[in-house]
């Protein structure tokens, strides 16, 4: 090797050290960049030459820049982000419901319910008293207002959840198009035999995938060309450099008044496949709230209405007249066509009994088994309900206090309908009686019986009695179980949030442990490469001196 070769070796040392310093400074610069994986320079000996039988190296060169990355931790993080995203959402939604029903601070319905029941009691000991009658009307209105404001808060929450579902879906779409773009870049960078790692893009893509995991659960795999495929509900979200958008719609089971509830991908309803991440959490918390708290609250109010009305309807007021209902009766029973295809019928339902007293206060599913035959099941008990009527094309079939009417022989087999006397129970809740004299405290038409308290007594008793459609508990107990259930759900969501948060923190810290930047470490490396650079420069200096020596010989 010639003396000039030393220049080349020195130069390679300078260049490589400089590159190493670049990597170090890049690491330092990105120490706080989310998703950044620490990079290391790979140094290699430049092709050695044979010299006197031995091989001597001709300097150093950069073999590549490697990022420190653990794919197992990445996978674990993705699934943990799924859980964490869901827990966060559940906790937020359920703790809100809990706050709405917070009996600990006396904000719930319990007080109003109690006051209402007590107002009837007060009327029993002085049925002719104008003051007691006025108080009863006031307490009844307060009960209406409280229950409507609680329902309003809960339905607002449901609407917000559904709005959030739309927002999350659009966040998902941004992320998937990001992933598709990054796929494209990674594939092109890493293409060819002389593959270079697209570390930076991979860091970004992995970060995007982790963000996506926090939003929803998905399946994924990495293709041999470096691109990832992302699937949800058997449908492609990202395939190579293309991404597919999620959309939100109201499906057959959705309540139009409360906004869209279902998530579609490529025209397929994948709502039921999304069980994790924020989206999964939102879908679950929505159904938790709609099917439990909201449903039960409406059932309770419907029960107060029907139990009070049934007795009040049969009673007599201060003038010895029957005055009908105490609370408003729903004008029509809520019916929703849940059929996937066109059902072929228009169905309406109404309450048979003028007092709503014979109503069972449950929700029902009506299913056509043919164009002319149908069956009805109670959604709570799952039991089949017996229907009076010819069950085929009649317009006056009745069951459990509900009359249904629909057009004859046009139904598509398999069509289903939700028939719910509960859906509008709180919305239509109101006090019918406006004149205190019209309150029926008596059970006798005899006008002289101004002290007759039998009906008031019966209603007061009803408020403390077990009601069979509430599962044989009192109204107050039923309400307290609504509250307790909301507390239990919120509690368990909080517990699982804490658990999942800890687990994620642990995984995050393991990822940091592998991929994170340690400033001390980088400082040490900086000194190392600085010294290497200085030594390389010195090497060139010495070579120069040697050459000068040779030239001046």
């Amino acid at each position: 090797m010639s003396l000039l070769g030393l220049f080349d070796i020195g130069k390679s040392a300078l260049a490589t050290s400089q590159q190493a310093l670049t990597v170090v400074s890049n690491n330092i610069a990105n120490a706080n960049t989310p998703g950044y994986s620490r990079q290391e320079i790979i140094m290699e000996i430049t092709n050695p030459v044979e010299s006197g039988g031995d091989f001597i190296g001709r300097g150093v060169h950069t073999g590549g820049i490697r990022r420190t990355f653990d794919s197992v931790i990445h996978k674990q993080l993705i699934s943990q982000k799924n859980n964490y995203g869901k827990s966060t959402t559940l906790e937020q939604g359920l703790s809100f419901v809990e706050q709405v029903l917070n009996e600990a601070q006396g904000l719930g319905l319990s007080n109003s319910l109690n006051d209402y029941s007590n107002a009837w009691q007060d009327l029993t000991s002085d049925p002719d008293s104008k003051a007691a009658r006025t108080a009863l009307l006031e307490k009844s209105k307060a009960l209406v207002q409280t229950s409507q404001s609680i329902e309003g808060s809960i339905t607002d929450l449901v609407k917000r959840i559904k709005g959030r579902i739309e927002d999350v879906a659009s966040d998902v779409n941004t992320l998937t198009s990001n992933i598709a773009e990054l796929n494209d870049k990674i594939i092109s960078v890493e293409a060819g035999a002389n593959s270079r790692s697209a570390s930076m893009f991979r860091d970004q893509r992995e970060e995007a995938m982790r963000d996506l995991a926090e939003l929803m659960d998905y399946d994924w795999y990495e293709d041999s060309d470096g691109g990832v495929f992302v699937l949800a509900g058997g449908q492609s979200l990202v395939s190579g450099n293309s991404s597919y958008n999620l959309s939100t719609q109201i499906d057959a089971t959705g309540d139009t008044a409360l906004g869209s509830n279902a998530v579609y991908l490529n025209g397929t309803n994948i709502t039921s496949s999304i069980t994790k991440g924020e989206l999964g959490g939102l879908i679950e918390v929505r159904s938790d709230i709609e099917d439990n708290s909201l449903h039960d609250l409406r059932k309770l109010v419907a029960t107060v209405v029907s139990e009070t009305n049934a007795l009040h309807y049969a009673g007599y007021d201060r003038d010895g007249d029957t005055t009908g209902n105490f609370f408003d009766v729903q004008s029509a029973v809520y019916v929703r066509d849940n059929s996937t295809a066109s059902s072929g019928v228009t169905m309406t339902a109404s309450i048979v009994d003028a007092s709503q007293g014979s109503l069972v206060n449950d929700e029902y599913t009506l299913t056509f088994s043919s164009s002319t035959a149908y069956s009805v099941t109670n959604n709570r008990t799952g039991a089949s309900v017996s229907v009076t009527g010819d069950l085929s094309s009649s317009t006056t079939d009745t069951f459990d206090g509900i009359t249904i009417s629909f057009n004859a022989s046009t139904a598509t087999s398999g069509s289903t309908f939700l028939i719910s006397p509960l859906r509008n129970a709180i919305a239509d809740f109101g006090v019918t009686v406006t004149d205190t004299d019209d309150i029926a405290a008596s059970d006798s038409a005899t006008t002289s019986q101004t002290g007759n308290n039998v009906t008031a007594l019966a209603i007061a008793d009803k408020m403390k009695s077990n009601i069979s459609s509430l599962g044989s508990v009192t109204m107050e107990d039923f309400y307290s179980s609504i509250v307790t259930e909301s507390g239990t759900l919120s509690r368990s969501a909080l517990g699982s949030l804490a658990f999942n948060g800890n687990l994620m923190l642990e995984l995050e810290s393991r990822r940091q442990s592998v991929s994170g930047v340690s400033l001390d470490e980088e400082a040490a490396n900086m000194i190392r490469f600085q010294r290497a650079f200085e030594a390389g420069a010195r090497m060139i200096n010495i070579t120069d001196e040697l050459l000068e020596l040779v030239i001046n010989l």
Partner: protein, 521 residues
């Protein structure tokens, strides 16, 4: 494990977050004083707490109801003791009035006193509680009694809940509180034609057929009373065969001349013979034979004055020479009319209640509380209680089979008693005055019963109120156990968390402030 600065920061921030959450929770416990601030803090305790609150609220209501009941019953009890005073005064007046030496004038004066007592009773009966008539049942805006003492209310009871599913009646109903419900009384008999035969049976004894006046002659209520109350002879196996003894009977009625009837062994020496001889004599006394429906049937004769209510005596001169033994004619009747006679052998007493406008018959078993029946045979065909004989016209007004099948009302109101009393005084009717004493005694018993009933209900309410208060205290205690924060615990917890936070801050500053870069030069 490789530890990077990022990890340290993360660790620090997440610990900080947790500590702040704990701090927030403890400080909210301290500021609210409650351990439970939301249902999820402890769902089970929350349910318990809610149940306690519901119970406390209910107890509050039940206490209000109990208080209402106590003041109502207390007021009613006071009214009843006033009623007792009125009855007591009436009774004293009656005792004085029954004295045979009283003159018509003094009885007239007493009658107006009785009328005042009646008015006082009426005021009590129409007393108001909370401006509502308290004795008229549900008809609280209707006076319980009219000015004549007629019941105008209804018999409904006012019940309130004093506990879950436990009701208590908190009123006294004037219909029962102002009547003696042990007496059986007919409707007004004025103008009713009372003919036929009565069949009286008391308890498990044999029934007795008592024929009223012969044929279609109607009997007056007072006569029926006399028939039923008349002392009767011993029972004979037949009326027309068995010899009853010979001799003479001398009948003395009031100031009339004594009438003497002779019985010899041939013509009149049977029960029917004696009866017919007495009835065909001019003495103002009649005789009738009642049939005791035993097995076999037996017969008893009874005498009654032609003028109802008049006293009489019968002297016997027995042919066997002994006028006081139980053989011969003296066995049938005795010099002293009552000696060998039995009073009310059927066990029933009758009284006439006359308030001046209405005349009624009242019946009472000799042994109080025994059940009795009165059969009616209006057409005297020996078949009792035919459809037409239970229809509440004529003699059927007396029909009484049981408390459910009866034309008798099972009570007499205090107002009827007072009216009868004052009428008897003004009519100078000593028998009526005596009946009044009996009625007033019964009324007082009844008032005492009613007062005792109200009193025992009040005691029950008082006990119940105490029980409710005990429960309330227990529930408050339980609620506090479940719901309230242990302030001492919470405060020490607060201090602990603060110390931990302080330590974290200090150590983290030490850790984060130094790096290798500080030493590069």
């Amino acid at each position: 494990m490789r530890v990077t600065s990022f990890m340290l920061f993360d660790e620090f921030t997440s610990s900080l977050k947790k500590k702040f959450e704990e701090l927030a929770k403890v400080s909210s416990q301290i500021s609210s004083g409650k351990r439970l601030t939301k249902p999820s803090d402890d769902a089970i305790s929350m349910k318990e707490a809610m149940a306690y609150k519901v119970s406390l609220n209910s107890i509050d209501q039940y206490k209000r109801n109990v208080d209402q009941g106590m003041s109502r019953l207390g007021f009613a009890e006071n009214q009843m003791s006033s009623v007792e005073h009125v009855l007591q005064s009436a009774r004293e007046l009656a005792i004085a009035g029954s004295d045979a030496t009283q003159s018509n004038e003094s009885r007239d004066a007493a009658s107006s006193v009785a009328q005042n007592l009646f008015n006082e009773m009426l005021n009590i009966g129409n007393s108001k509680f909370n401006n509502k008539y308290m004795f008229s049942g549900f008809s609280t805006n209707t006076a319980a009694f009219s000015s004549t003492g007629a019941w105008q209310g209804d018999t409904n009871d006012m019940n309130v809940y004093i506990d879950e599913s436990v009701t208590q009646t908190i009123n006294l109903n004037g219909n029962t509180a102002f009547s003696d419900t042990t007496k059986y009384m007919t409707a007004d008999l004025t103008g009713a034609t009372l003919t036929g035969t009565l069949q009286v049976a008391v308890g498990s004894g044999d029934s007795m057929d008592i024929p009223l006046k012969d044929g279609s002659t109607a009997a007056t209520p007072a006569e029926i009373r006399d028939y039923i109350n008349a002392p009767m002879t011993k029972a004979y196996a037949d009326t027309g065969t068995t010899a009853v003894g010979t001799g003479t009977l001398t009948i003395n009625v009031g100031t009339n001349d004594p009438v003497t009837i002779t019985f010899d062994s041939t013509t009149t020496n049977t029960l029917a013979g004696v009866r017919d001889a007495i009835n065909s004599s001019n003495a103002a006394v009649n005789a009738r034979i009642a049939t005791v429906n035993g097995s076999p049937a037996t017969y008893r004769m009874f005498l009654y004055p032609t003028t109802a209510g008049e006293g009489f005596s019968v002297d016997v001169a027995d042919t066997d020479g002994n006028n006081n033994d139980t053989s011969g004619l003296s066995a049938l009747l005795h010099t002293d009319i009552k000696s060998n006679l039995t009073e009310n052998p059927h066990g029933l007493q009758a009284f006439v209640i006359n308030d001046g406008t209405e005349e009624r018959l009242m019946f009472e078993p000799v042994v109080k509380g025994t059940s009795f029946t009165i059969g009616v045979d209006e057409d005297a065909d020996a078949t009792f209680n035919e459809t037409a004989e239970t229809d509440a016209t004529g003699l059927s007004l007396l029909y009484h089979a049981s408390s459910t099948t009866t034309n008798l009302s099972s009570s007499i109101t205090f107002f009827q008693i007072m009216n009868h009393f004052s009428n008897s005084l003004s009519n100078n009717d000593t028998k009526g005055i005596q009946t009044s004493i009996m009625l007033l005694d019964g009324a007082m018993d009844s008032v005492i019963d009613t007062t005792a009933d109200a009193g025992s209900r009040m005691r029950y309410l008082q006990d119940h109120s105490n029980r409710l208060e005990d429960n309330e205290i227990a529930y408050i205690q339980n609620l506090s156990n479940v719901e309230d924060a242990d302030i001492a615990d919470a405060a020490s917890e607060f201090a602990k968390i603060q110390t931990a936070l302080e330590a974290m801050r200090i150590t983290s500053i030490q850790t984060f402030s130094k790096s290798l870069f500080d030493f590069l030069g």
